[in-house]
Subunit: 340 residues, 2 copies
């Protein structure tokens, strides 16, 4: 059932039917109603590609995952995209996912832009010297960055959480509690957000005149196993830290396991703060003891990023949005004064 047939059925022209269906004012209310009814009755669905070709709008936005896949390994991805897909569906947009394959990542963006496959893209997990933004500017493809670039904050749209502030707050809480040796289990520090977290951590240490000790730090994939191994390594040191700040719930899950194994009581022998992205399958409040966290829902971020991108597509001349989300520090049971 295509438009032509539908028009014939109705005894109207294609134009009128198309306009009736798309809410143009040139068609009478009675006609519009009749068209809508017959269309629904006959199960007419406009062909997506024909419409896109005619309007030049893809009604889709794209997510390209780097070929090294480290982003996609992370379960955060799932929640972030879920949040976005929801909003996009609400606005009649499709979500296009591109991952892997033999095609070079940059050329995927090229194809997306020049082939009109999508109206915009979301750039996730920007890293140091990220080439994507320059390319997208050149391609004039609307985009928004989830996170921020190295040191630039202007000239592109972004939404980020205040990672620096969050980790500063968390570290400060610990130093205020008297901790002087504080470890950091971080994500891969080629990613900007991980860098920001370390900066926040180091800033708080500096403010108290505490030494910067690389042996107390880890940077790498945020898996349970890494959390376990590194926490164990760090907690077995001669002058072991009395507190640990950890970049994800999975890392922390491993870290808690290590602490248990070393018979360190969490919140007493060792204080723990984790960053909680609000993943639905791993709940900071469900742990024992409940976990002190810096927390910010990555799903909400996904939704908001999608919304902003849609606005950007709607009016390309508008202001480039910048949103920096505050991150709450929620004090629960895993932090306490340093044992004397």
């Amino acid at each position: 059932m295509n438009l032509k047939e539908l028009a014939k059925h109705l005894g109207l022209s294609q134009t009128t039917v198309s306009r009736a269906l798309n809410g143009y004012p040139e068609v009478g209310e009675a006609t519009r109603k009749r068209v809508a009814e017959v269309a629904a009755h006959l199960g007419y669905r406009p062909n997506a590609h024909a419409r896109r070709l005619a309007t030049g709008r893809a009604h889709a936005i794209g997510y390209v995952f780097p070929t090294d896949r480290t982003v996609m390994i992370d379960p955060l991805f799932s929640d972030f995209v879920a949040g976005a897909a929801d909003i996009l569906a609400l606005h009649g947009f499709e979500t296009l996912l591109h991952a892997g394959g033999q095609e070079d990542e940059m050329s995927v963006y090229r194809r997306f832009a020049e082939g009109g496959a999508v109206d915009g893209v979301v750039v996730q997990a920007p890293h140091v010297d990220d080439p994507r933004v320059a390319l997208l500017n050149e391609l004039k493809l609307p985009y928004i960055v989830h996170g921020r670039l190295d040191s630039v904050e202007d000239g592109y749209a972004w939404l980020d959480i205040d990672n620096l502030g969050a980790f500063h707050k968390a570290t400060k809480l610990l130093t205020d509690l008297g901790h002087r040796r504080i470890g950091l289990l971080n994500g891969p520090e080629k990613l900007i957000y991980a860098l920001h977290r370390r900066e926040g951590y180091e800033k708080a240490l500096r403010e108290k005149g505490l030494p910067h000790n690389p042996a107390l730090m880890f940077s790498g994939l945020m898996t349970e196993e890494n959390g376990y191994r590194e926490a164990k390594r760090i907690l077995q040191m001669k002058d072991r830290p009395t507190a640990l700040i950890v970049s994800s719930m999975l890392l922390i899950s491993g870290a808690m396991r290590a602490a248990h194994e070393l018979r360190l009581e969490i919140g007493k022998d060792i204080s723990l703060i984790g960053h909680d992205d609000g993943l639905p399958f791993l709940n900071a409040e469900g742990l024992v003891p409940t976990l002190t966290t810096t927390s910010s829902s990555i799903r909400n971020a996904g939704s908001r990023v999608a919304e902003l991108l849609l606005e950007l597509i709607e009016k390309p001349q508008g202001e480039l949005p910048h949103e920096l989300w505050n991150v709450d520090l929620i004090v629960r049971g895993s932090t306490g004064p340093v044992a004397s």
Copy 2:
């Protein structure tokens, strides 16, 4: 830069250029080469929608997530789709994701089929009385089910792992080790795979004449917290089980936490077997003790499902593929004879 302009640049007709680019035999080698060079030099990219409209092929396959979202909450999703997206990209297909929105799930399939948005879809996590398959048959949209339907195995393409066999094997290992009270932490049993797992478990119990005790079972979302809570509940019973079979690594992570808290030594006081989907962030070998698992990579399943679907799209008249994957039982340190 579109085809017409490119053709003008070359002094050829659109037809010839199109054929040259798409490898049709009617065009000479020298011409083809020249066309390819100029196209590359001018950065020509065919318009995706125009091509789709002309060929009638979307070069995309779709994933629709149920509005209740339970599937998407699960981080398995991420790995499954990642595996698929990779293969799809390799074959020049896009991956379309639809989740949430106000549009009814069934109507999304309708739109996909009748609007030609995708060439096929993957049906995930089929549940009891799943209406999707009937709809897709009616729509004549190629599809493949990851999993199986209630009791039907014919008339549709599917790839499934042998959940029943796996959990039977696992339970049998435990009964052979002398365990007589064995608990089960399962996923939501409206999902067929969870049903199959329970059947495997119950079958092994029956074979040993062991009683079926609903108090030793849990069925629900596979979160860490549920694993913890339910394991704790079950392990605090008067006649507590000496072994637990668990449907996911997240559940097991919670269950291990509960065991630690109750001061039960895993592999000795309590045996544990988990199903391992091979998620990259939670490794059964990285745990202490290492975990006995039934294991099957969900990422590989995602890839293979995509491959099969592509074949199905290629030749719609072909046999409907059925693949039942064997699941290995890998015995590691978390299982042992029942304490006497």
